[in-house]
Symmetry: D2
Subunit: 337 residues, 4 copies
Amino acid sequence: MRFVSDNNASICPEVLAALSEANRGLAAAYGNDPWTGRLNEVLGAFFGTEVRAFVVATGTAANSLALSVLSPPYGSIYCHPDAHIVTDECGAPGFFTSGAQLELLGGANGKLSAATLTAALDAHPVSVHSVQPAVVSISQATELGTAYRPAELAALCDVAHQRGLHVQMDGARFANALVYLGCHPGDVTWRAGVDVLCFGATKNGALGAEAVVFFEPELVRDFELRRKRAGQLLSKSRYVSAQLLAYIESGVWRGNAERANALARRLAEAAGRRLLHPVEANEVFLELGIDEKTSLRAAGFEFYDWGSPGSGTVRLVASWDQDERHVEALCAALAAM
Amino acid sequence: MRFVSDNNASICPEVLAALSEANRGLAAAYGNDPWTGRLNEVLGAFFGTEVRAFVVATGTAANSLALSVLSPPYGSIYCHPDAHIVTDECGAPGFFTSGAQLELLGGANGKLSAATLTAALDAHPVSVHSVQPAVVSISQATELGTAYRPAELAALCDVAHQRGLHVQMDGARFANALVYLGCHPGDVTWRAGVDVLCFGATKNGALGAEAVVFFEPELVRDFELRRKRAGQLLSKSRYVSAQLLAYIESGVWRGNAERANALARRLAEAAGRRLLHPVEANEVFLELGIDEKTSLRAAGFEFYDWGSPGSGTVRLVASWDQDERHVEALCAALAAM
Amino acid sequence: MRFVSDNNASICPEVLAALSEANRGLAAAYGNDPWTGRLNEVLGAFFGTEVRAFVVATGTAANSLALSVLSPPYGSIYCHPDAHIVTDECGAPGFFTSGAQLELLGGANGKLSAATLTAALDAHPVSVHSVQPAVVSISQATELGTAYRPAELAALCDVAHQRGLHVQMDGARFANALVYLGCHPGDVTWRAGVDVLCFGATKNGALGAEAVVFFEPELVRDFELRRKRAGQLLSKSRYVSAQLLAYIESGVWRGNAERANALARRLAEAAGRRLLHPVEANEVFLELGIDEKTSLRAAGFEFYDWGSPGSGTVRLVASWDQDERHVEALCAALAAM
Amino acid sequence: MRFVSDNNASICPEVLAALSEANRGLAAAYGNDPWTGRLNEVLGAFFGTEVRAFVVATGTAANSLALSVLSPPYGSIYCHPDAHIVTDECGAPGFFTSGAQLELLGGANGKLSAATLTAALDAHPVSVHSVQPAVVSISQATELGTAYRPAELAALCDVAHQRGLHVQMDGARFANALVYLGCHPGDVTWRAGVDVLCFGATKNGALGAEAVVFFEPELVRDFELRRKRAGQLLSKSRYVSAQLLAYIESGVWRGNAERANALARRLAEAAGRRLLHPVEANEVFLELGIDEKTSLRAAGFEFYDWGSPGSGTVRLVASWDQDERHVEALCAALAAM
């Protein structure tokens, strides 16, 4: 019974059907196909503004390619210590940017704030000797399963822009945050000041489909050349674009995220006081005893330790296609503790 | 009527079916799934030796990741001026290796030879001032649609190994070369001395599936870390591995390549004396008059100029799913010239 | 009256004389000269063990080249938030390593400790997803003007080595720490477990002379190739080596450092309770009122704000050739506050 | 008797004196000193136009830093196969640019031409798949000891600029070319269209002093940040700037180069029909028999093989401080062959 990660999930029927539908004979490669041709329009309608979107194969590539157009090699990128780019990308930001430095800013529940960013920027005057502050990178939903409110984002982006930094959002679980917040996609992106969103569909029902969505055309810069030289310009892009179109247009982004979030909330309720962070997406963080971890695993439940295996902090993730009975079983096990 | 590239082709039924079959509930991510678990064994049986294989999203990534474990940042990579890594990857080798230098060696029909490699290595004594010869990179089939014979490869690899270089093969059209040569896959890879093969299925029927196949375990080195930080470790790797398994086990690699090659030969015969290189795969290079190019395009045929648009050199590519009638029409048009 | 930095100092007579003495007609370039030829022996005698030493032009280059042979591109480098490599090298470590990630560990008085390193390594289990812990980088004297004791270093290096990390020491002010501690150079380097020392003479009397000193021959790896491609292999290396030889053999390393340290102690005594850190080298950190900063500057004293200009933290540095009267004047001004 | 390279030469008296003169107490570091403060003005007067100049430690660093502001990481740099950046910098251009590709253009006597550049650019249409032509890099004097005439340069630069490329000149032996040509420094740089000159003094009498001279202010871009993170911002820059000021203002650049060139011409005359290229600087290329090479070396003459040691091609270099008697001896030996 896997609660390890939503990337354990399968492809949802709507997306799988789209792959078959896109499979009609020859089509231009490298994004010159009709499916990719519709992407800007469909994503633009979703976000309520003009966008320029580019598909890539993975979330890691999406994040780091976005960062590489926003930061010079000697730039610095402000982010949370728990950010995926810090802990789970094997140094991809340094690779794609050719050396930019990550600057970690603490914050409760996985969130940066306007205040911590201001303090960090004030503490280090910029000169030819220092790295040059370039980007604020945030995750929505955060790596701790919480969701930034529009006002939190707006305050943070305001500081960033006033200080000459751009804002990139890791949206590997963007749909989960969105259905929790119940707001318009624009409210937690461009309207709040986010410059580039890495919009992930893979964890929420796609085979593998990530779009880097620019809300400011001039920020695109040399993105296409960087994508190509990173081996992220997919020859048969139509199959990635078709996934994204189906994901948006069928509304399955919402349905899948709602189910995953609802399951996570059930786990959270069962866990009670062991809960470490508000559950505002599909992730549940618990503080367990070492014995409790062991007995859950012995009972067949799989999940990640969060941080040191010697601690009792664990992460449970509910996927869009999580088996109802597994969730029930885990809820029962948690409630029985 | 597209003869632009075999990456315009669709997914063949065998591979599409494999995607559906792999779509069974939750599975471990990042290559810890059962499909990826079978990959070394299935590819090992195909090549007739133990291998270690790693899937990635694109041929560009496959080539450059392979090069990045074989060459230090100050290494040099010997290759043909028409190699894909030289002309079509937007500098990916320089990016992935953090600066390795491409050394171009001419050669008829897109092939390097033992003699040109020897001469090049002799001409430039190595010191702390020079780049360090590290890799010979070749393509099979070559970028000019020809196929290295086993003996040609063995002679070339011999020189490379004697001089301390490794040999990487770009096999974006490996199946096409193999069915032309009619030999065992091992004969043009490890038995001839190839160290790493970038084995592509995308152009020949897959959605997007490339495997970097190491024939020497110790050469794998830090490949997995480099793949991860390049955003090429796919979370849902099962869907890429499943494509490759189907591609090999169903034998469709052969059937698709045979059809594509046969169509290319028909085009070559129709083109007659305009043919520039032997057709040993699914690509046909012709020298046309400018007017002839224009009239073919006016008749609805799409294809690439090869090199300068001001020249008359063109490339025609036949795909596994090329429409028979389009091939007939193009043959007729060529014959009528 | 400059108390800005010891890099404002001039060349001391012993070193200047060595330049003239080395200026005898033609000599082999790129380190094949007799002066460079003596370097390993002279530095080996100084440290009391066999070493392999390489000269470079700047401390930034020394640090980052050393790090680049100790860390892979996806490595992580543990260091203090105040480390020069973090705050004052414009991202050089990321550049030279092609992307390694700096991991900041707090610590009083600019020092890392065995305990904080252990805790940090325990908190982040290593996998293919994470950066790979590779190096601990420390400064001696620290950036806050303190000196690691031999036992502190040994404990820290022990943890590092047990966990598979190497230890690099930024010794831009190594002489200052050494004369303070009064110990043997080996006691705070190889005997304590330091693998590589970046031994700086520039701040303490040279024109520009930094040596990267390896205490383990096998760690040298490809240092020479990396130095060359970084533009740090000086054609007329004899003039850098000659500086270092004079610096060591004349004993001026000691005399200059003793004078600078003594002047710093006088400043510290005058500053009294405003002192922020023990003065164990030639740097003095004070917490002043904003008005006090302003009035000192109005009186002609130049110095750095440490961190935010809006704070009252300042750094005073005493050089080997600091004018006695300027020190007296500053002491008087401080005492009068 | 060394004819190996002009980097075997010593420091000329004028430059050595300047070091002493600059050695007056404390001075601001990192180029904020009065010597560096005069550099733009003095070099501007020399070239007859406004310039922005930056000192670095080596010619390799000068070239590659210049290239790194002119070329994106996916750019291409057109240069001669014998260019120092190709053969003698251990891949520095790839390192500093983070991956730019060198494109080699043949040409007699080490020179590129407008025609070969045009042909090369025409042969490879640019797209997202290709590297992006960015820079033409030439050497003056060339690596084969010849000098571009102003009209040759103007024609070449014209093509470059029309096609959107910038022109960088490696001027490690700029003075030698200049005294041969007898023209104004501006005639073979900015007036001809050169954008950036790497102006070397090291080979012609300095200890180590290279200036990157921009003739277009906007091309400076982020040079200072790139210099810093490359460890090429020298803390005690005054001593490098003072060398350059003395080199220019004393006129020793001319006197030293005239002497070196004159000695080279004498060697060339003695070598007679063995001469491979016109001698227009201080380098002499000869085709000798293997036995002749051996006997010259046996007689105590040191020099480089040019290319393969198995060939008879050798390079003799005359330095500003070459011993007259050594030159006479070598002339006699050559004449006796």
